[in-house]
């Protein structure tokens, strides 16, 4: 069955036609052309398709598009404001917290949300919150350093 759903994506209201069996990841990437949502394992293991659904990180390969009717979605494209990167994005650049960069959108998004909720996380808390995202280059050390250094900007807010 085809139906219309409306959702807010990165602040914009969108109405899309979707089939009942379509996944959120496909609607975001193929219909709304939001390519910061990466597709890799398709079964909820790698976490690269993570988006914020009503402020909560979820893996969009395990969510039906019809389920998010009326919801608010934020992807990595929705973080910067007026062309200015968020502190966590700058920290990732400063710390070289990426190699191939394929996992970076998911890590940036999840760490941004982590710092909004907990502006002063311990290393254990960072590891636990991000354990659902895999970096095959193994840049975890730099990612954790980047998050620690960005945390001061979130405390000021």
């Amino acid at each position: 069955m085809v139906r219309k759903i409306s959702l807010t994506v990165n602040g914009y209201r969108k109405t899309v036609e979707v089939k009942d069996n379509e996944l959120l990841i496909d609607v975001l990437r193929d219909k709304l052309k939001i390519k910061g949502v990466k597709a890799a394992c398709w079964r909820g293991e790698c976490g690269l398709c993570t988006v914020l659904l009503n402020g909560e990180p979820v893996k969009s390969c395990l969510v039906l598009a019809v389920e998010v009717d009326g919801s608010e979605i934020v992807t990595v494209e929705g973080l910067s404001r007026d062309g200015e990167l968020t502190p966590i994005q700058k920290a990732f650049i400063e710390h070289g917290a990426l190699q191939c960069g394929f996992c970076t959108p998911a890590f940036v998004l999840a760490s941004h949300q982590l710092l909004l909720e907990n502006p002063n996380p311990t290393e254990e808390e960072i590891k636990e919150k991000l354990s659902g995202i895999l970096c095959r280059c193994g840049t975890y050390y730099e990612i954790i350093e980047a998050i620690k250094s960005a945390s001061k900007f979130y405390q000021k807010k």
């Binding site: 069955m1 009942d20 069996n21 379509e22 996944l23 394992c41 398709w42 079964r43 909820g44 976490g47 993570t50 909560e56 990180p57 979820v58 893996k59 395990l62 969510v63 039906l64 019809v66 389920e67 999840a110 636990e128 919150k129 991000l130 354990s131 659902g132 995202i133």
Partner: protein
């Protein structure tokens, strides 16, 4: 069950989002075993991709208010509704304080992003032998509440899970909640698991100890070692007997590693699992008896 090459698409189905439990039950009655319940989706959607299940109707129960219930009442215990996620359980203060085994199992289950969607009821309904939800529930003596259009029944979690991917649920029925009895003050519980490289346990263990003078109540529940979680009844007896607690713990751990039927599979041999049972039992019980 094979987790071979995944399909990228889902089979065709019609999506339903009922607003009341009655509406959901009517849909279930109408479509019978053609229908599957969708809560968090981390199990169902993955299984549909693998074509392990291909329902023609998917019934999303997240719009039903009464299934969101998460409530503790002194003397009665804890009620966990069918759409309550692991993350919600993790941040519920009562669970952290009173139901330590459940709290620790919730924290060790999968990863924190999956836990934002995954539900505890979904976890036990999948009845996969190596997941972390069932052992603590069985240790607390929890029951599931099952409703259909014409009746309500309650089944202990230990009996509800019949084997791998096999549960005591008829077409037309839905698990609405889990009921966990209140734990007496002084009772202690805990959960440990051993896993390598993946979140799936090779052995997991929930222990519940209530060592009052008059009545000793001990439960040791092991998961991932057999088709369904099992209690080590002989080891429990040892712990309930009189004697030096440290000696009893060692005897119980050895007994548990010998008395149970243990599988051997690609993840671990029977011998290794028996070794893990002994070590995990010893560590967890020591921690429970000596700590705090």
């Amino acid at each position: 069950m094979s987790f071979g090459s995944p399909y990228f698409t889902l089979p065709d189905f019609t999506y339903h989002k009922p607003k009341t439990l009655r509406e959901a039950l009517e849909l279930l009655e109408k479509y019978g075993d053609e229908a599957k319940i969708l809560a968090g989706g981390v199990g169902l959607i993955a299984f549909m991709k693998e074509r392990l299940v291909s329902p023609s109707h998917v019934i999303d129960i997240k719009g039903i208010p009464e299934l969101k219930k998460l409530e503790y009442r002194k003397g009665e215990g804890l009620v966990i509704g069918a759409t309550v996620t692991f993350s919600e359980l993790e941040s519920y203060q009562v669970i952290r304080e009173k139901y330590r085994a459940l709290y620790q199992a919730v924290k060790l289950a999968s990863d924190s992003i999956i836990r934002n969607r995954a539900t505890l009821v979904g976890n036990i309904c999948e009845a996969i032998p190596w997941v972390d939800g069932p052992p603590p529930l069985i240790a607390y003596g929890a029951e599931v509440e099952i409703k259909s259009l014409d009746k309500v029944r309650r089944v202990p979690v230990a009996e509800f899970i019949k084997g791998p991917v096999e549960i005591d649920l008829e077409p037309g029925e839905i698990v609405t909640s889990i009921h966990i009895p209140d734990v007496p003050s002084g009772a202690r519980s805990g959960f440990v698991k051993f896993n390598v490289g993946s979140e799936f346990a090779l052995v997991n263990l929930a222990a519940y100890l209530s060592l009052n003078e008059e009545k000793k109540d001990v439960r040791l529940v092991y998961g991932a070692i057999s088709p369904k979680p099992v209690r080590a009844l002989e080891a429990e007896k040892i712990l309930s007997s009189e004697g030096d607690m440290r000696t009893l713990i060692i005897s119980a751990a050895v007994k548990a590693s010998e008395e149970l039927e243990v599988i051997s599979d690609v993840l671990a041999s029977e011998d290794f699992r028996r070794h893990l049972i002994k070590i995990l039992t010893m560590n967890l019980l020591t921690e429970l008896v000596e700590g705090g």
